[in-house]
């Protein structure tokens, strides 16, 4: 399957050994290179790999933690539910419907969507609105690449995303905790920002279902719930979409949801965060530390009002 191949290929480009702190992961990466060697790919690539200028060099969160501590209400509201229940999701074949204000609407098979892109590794901080954070080595490609191919019209001011809606595959959707399907949105300039990623993998492997397989959004300067999972529909629109959490509670969750230590939430102080795997908490940074790349998008906006 092509999707797999994409992420496997990039396994040769994934982070330097030194970043893979613990021995277990070291072994895994070593095994990956072993496979590359057998399949005739030059091992040199493994060391001469390119590090994305957008990647952080902070210590990576354990693969096990990333794949077992998830918010994905389609598979239950407990953090450990998705890892237990997400096996019912069928990610192949997978179609993505593209509609709205663009020249190339249609139903795209995922393989066709991924054919022209080159998957790369991006190590991003990931900050959940609940006050915890991770450092995740994503595999993916810039959302901008996909958007350009769909040729949005001048009316396309926002991009709207929708998760698959199928209670048979997503048992959590049988309960109306959220108004299904899960929807999210970005302003066009946010969507086109080079940081914004369409994620296809983690740690050089395909995404697991609980992490939003086969295709998810990754917007590192916003709270995690903006990074919608298992995307089945993309729509270009003139009006600002109402995202699921805003719909559920507009006093607590806004459209922008930029990480901001000065805008507190009634349930979680946002001044600090707990890095999963660490004991002490660390200070939360404005835009999750990506201000250099994204602060200009919000110039002149009152971030306290537009939270």
């Amino acid at each position: 399957m092509l999707i797999k191949k994409n992420n496997e290929l990039s396994e040769n480009e994934v982070t330097d050994f030194s970043v893979y702190h613990n021995r277990r992961k070291f072994m895994k990466t070593a095994a990956g290179i072993g496979i590359a060697a057998v399949s005739g790919m030059p091992i040199i690539e493994a060391s001469a790999k390119t590090v994305s200028p957008y990647s952080t060099d902070e210590k990576l969160t354990d693969y096990k933690d990333i794949t077992t501590y998830c918010n994905f209400y389609e598979f239950g509201t407990g953090k450990e539910d998705p890892a237990k229940n997400a096996h019912t999701l069928v990610t192949s074949p997978w179609d993505v419907i593209v509609e709205g204000e663009c020249e190339k609407p249609g139903k795209y098979n995922l393989e066709d969507l991924l054919k022209p892109v080159s998957v790369e590794e991006r190590i991003y901080r990931f900050r959940c609105v609940e006050g915890w954070s991770m450092v995740i080595p994503w595999m993916g490609f810039p959302l901008a690449d996909l958007i350009k191919r769909m040729q949005p019209t001048s009316k396309a001011k926002y991009v709207y995303f929708e998760t698959l809606h199928d209670p048979k595959q997503m048992p959590g959707q049988r309960r109306a905790v959220l108004d299904w399907p899960y929807v999210e949105g970005l302003r066009m300039d946010e969507a086109m920002n080079p940081l914004t990623l369409m994620g296809t993998g983690i740690y050089g492997k395909d995404l697991l279902n609980q992490n939003g397989a086969p295709l998810r959004l990754v917007v590192p300067w916003k709270y995690g719930f903006k990074s919608i999972k298992s995307i089945a529909k993309i729509r270009f629109s003139e009006t600002q979409p109402v995202n699921s959490w805003q719909k559920a509670n507009e006093n607590e969750y806004g459209f922008f949801s930029n990480v901001n230590p000065d805008v507190s939430h009634p349930r979680w102080s946002q001044r600090r965060e707990r890095r999963i795997g660490e004991f002490r908490k660390i200070k939360t940074q404005l835009f999750n530390g990506y201000g250099e790349q994204v602060a200009s998008l919000y110039a002149g906006m009152d971030l306290k009002k537009n939270f």
Partner: protein, 197 residues
């Protein structure tokens, strides 16, 4: 119903004591073994809060159970259960002060003012403290009638406990609703009992 004095003090009371200690052992063991998942400190704070509320409700269940089974001995377990509730709530608070704020008092003060569910939890522990302090035989004697009045505080405290959980939850209120229903039954039984006499 009645069991022999021997069975009561040699078996029932120590068994209950051991049983109520199990959650604390479970979490201590879990931290030691790192078996509490990706976010163990959160798991500890939450687990202790859960047990604080459960044991609080168990304390409130003793009188109704005594009436239901016509079993006066049960009342003599109530102090231990109540103190256990306080034990878990205080550990829960301690977990919060340490693992959430590392004893940064300024930060804690802001947090209490800023987050309504924390405010409510704090009020509940503050009200619970005099009940724990006055649970000794000497205090019961000294306070006489006032003791009973003071200990009626357990009713608002338990409501605050449920409210605290309700307000903490992001979206899925199933669990707090279950606790609220149990509390309503326990308090409702008292009203019913009072007015049907």
């Amino acid at each position: 119903m009645k069991i022999s004095e021997n069975k009561f003090s040699r078996i029932l009371r120590p068994s209950l004591f051991a049983l109520l200690l199990l959650p604390a052992i479970y979490y201590a063991w879990g931290v030691w073994q790192d078996s509490l998942g990706a976010n163990p400190l959160e798991a500890v704070i939450r687990g202790l809060g859960d047990w604080g509320l459960r044991v609080l409700l168990l304390t409130l269940a003793i009188s109704p159970l005594r009436r239901l089974f016509n079993w006066p001995q049960l009342l003599r377990l109530r102090r231990m259960v109540g103190l256990y509730a306080y034990f878990y709530v205080v550990l829960h608070l301690f977990g919060y002060l340490w693992f959430d704020h590392f004893f940064d008092w300024e930060e804690i003060w802001f947090d209490i003012l800023e987050r309504p569910f924390i405010t409510v939890g704090m009020v509940a522990v503050i009200l619970l403290t005099p009940l724990a302090v006055t649970s000794t035989n000497g205090m019961i004697k000294r306070l006489g009638k006032k003791w009973k009045k003071l200990h009626m505080l357990i009713y608002p405290i338990s409501m605050l406990g449920v409210l605290h959980f309700w307000w903490m939850v992001k979206l899925d209120i199933t669990e707090p609703v279950i606790y609220a229903v149990i509390l309503a039954i326990l308090l409702g039984e008292r009203l019913f009992n009072k007015f049907s006499k």
